[in-house]
Every structure is written in structure tokens, then in C-alpha cells.
């Protein structure tokens, strides 16, 4: 059973460019969340997708956008990159099931470096 997969592993961009990161959730999961983890910090919630719609959003600007596809996979897009966007971007999947609070399973992350 494949866990959460993310691509690419590493990415180097320059300021002002745009980037797309991809995530495939763990088999059976229907909800995908994205987190940004800056160096030396805990992950910060960006947004969460369920049924192809953004359901929750953290304190991130509109430059950060996403998408969820019918097969539950997801993309994170960041426009007009800033140096401060350099971070590890983590995708997490979970199964939304009524009132049950299910743990999130994380992928290995995409390391984005903005020069």
C-alpha cells in the first residue's frame, strides 16, 4: 500500500516565478492538506481540500492556490515566488468520516528553494 507521495523532491526557482507541487494521497483517503515548514519551525497549515473544494485555509496569501482532482490527488501552486517561500512543503492525507478524528499521514515533502 503506497503512502502519500509528492513530486518533485527538490525544486529551485527564482523570485517572481511560479511553481506547482503535486501530491497523491494514501490509498483510501479523500482529504488532502498542505503545510509549509520553514527551516527550524513546525509545519504551518496552508489549506485543505475535500471533494475537490478548498474547505479550510490558513493565513497564507492568495498567491498560494490549490486544486484537488477526482482521483483525490492534489496540486499546490505558488505564484510570484518570494525568497520567504523557501521551505519544505508537506502534503498530508486523511479520511473524512463523520465525527471521527482521523490522523493525517504525511508525504516526504518537496524542498523548494527560491533564489
Amino acid at each position: 500500500d503506497a503512502g502519500v507521495t509528492q513530486s518533485p523532491t527538490h525544486l529551485i526557482k527564482t523570485r517572481g516565478q511560479q511553481v506547482t507541487l503535486r501530491c497523491s494521497p494514501k490509498s483510501g483517503h479523500d482529504t488532502v492538506s498542505w503545510y509549509q515548514q520553514a527551516l527550524g519551525q513546525g509545519p504551518q497549515f496552508i489549506f485543505q481540500y475535500y471533494e475537490e473544494e478548498e474547505r479550510q485555509r490558513g493565513n497564507f496569501p492568495d498567491r498560494f492556490s490549490g486544486h484537488q482532482f477526482p482521483n483525490y490527488s492534489s496540486e499546490l501552486n505558488v505564484n510570484a515566488l518570494l525568497l520567504g517561500d523557501s521551505a519544505l512543503y508537506l502534503c498530508a492525507s486523511s479520511l473524512r468520516s463523520g465525527g471521527t478524528v482521523n490522523e493525517q499521514f504525511f508525504g516526504p515533502g518537496t524542498r523548494l528553494t527560491v533564489l
Binding site: 503545510y35 513546525g42 509545519p43 497549515f45 479550510q56 498530508a92 478524528v101 490522523e103 504525511f106 516526504p108
Partner: protein, 116 residues
């Protein structure tokens, strides 16, 4: 505002000794609490969660955590540390305002170093 605090940047312990990684939380209502571990160049791995019930929660790799409502704490423990336990540990709380969705608020992390 809801938050999680991990008061120690680093914890050092000798192999075979018990370990504790501290976490305190601030939420309104009943908290849903989680511990994750992160190894170098890896994503986060789930260790355990507290939703309700027994205050002592058992998780993966011999870890357990004790929920203390009066002290608003959820400390991670292991009776006998291994060198392979050396990693970055994160405590997280589910955002109570996220409704049925599972938005997590993470602490800053504690680096655990287990020495032979």
C-alpha cells in the same frame, strides 16, 4: 487563540533511560492532540493521538503520552530510549474551529538526542 507550546528546543537522554518530551496546549473546549516524529529529509510520521477516554495513550515504537487536562499538557514518554529515537518531535492540536475538517496547529518541535 489556539496554540501548542514545546518548551524545550532539545532534549538529551542516554540510551536505556526514560525520556519525556513536553507539550502544553491552549484551546477552548476538548482538545484533540497528536504527536508526530520527523527524521532527517523525511515527512512526519504519526505516533499517537488523544481524542477522548484514557489519559494514557499508547502509540507506535513504544511511545506513549499522558494527557493532563488540569495542566493542559500532553507529554510524550518512552520507558527506555534508543539511539534510533533521535529525531525531531512535533506536538499538534486540532483547530477546534475547523469543524469537521482536520486542520492541525503544530508546535515548534523538540529535537531529541539519544546518546549511546
Amino acid at each position: 487563540a489556539q496554540s501548542v507550546a514545546q518548551p524545550e528546543d532539545q532534549v538529551n537522554v542516554a540510551e536505556g533511560n526514560p525520556l519525556t518530551v513536553k507539550c502544553t496546549y491552549s484551546v477552548s473546549g476538548n482538545p484533540y492532540l497528536f504527536w508526530y516524529v520527523q527524521y532527517p529529509n523525511r515527512g512526519l510520521q504519526f505516533l499517537l493521538k488523544y481524542i477522548t477516554g484514557d489519559n494514557l495513550v499508547k502509540g507506535s515504537y513504544g511511545f506513549e503520552a499522558e494527557f493532563n487536562k488540569s495542566q493542559t499538557s500532553f507529554h510524550l514518554k518512552k520507558p527506555s530510549a534508543l539511539v534510533s529515537d533521535s529525531a525531531l518531535y512535533f506536538c499538534a492540536v486540532r483547530d477546534i474551529l475547523s469543524g469537521g475538517y482536520n486542520k492541525l496547529i503544530f508546535g515548534a518541535g523538540t529535537r531529541l538526542a539519544v546518546h549511546p
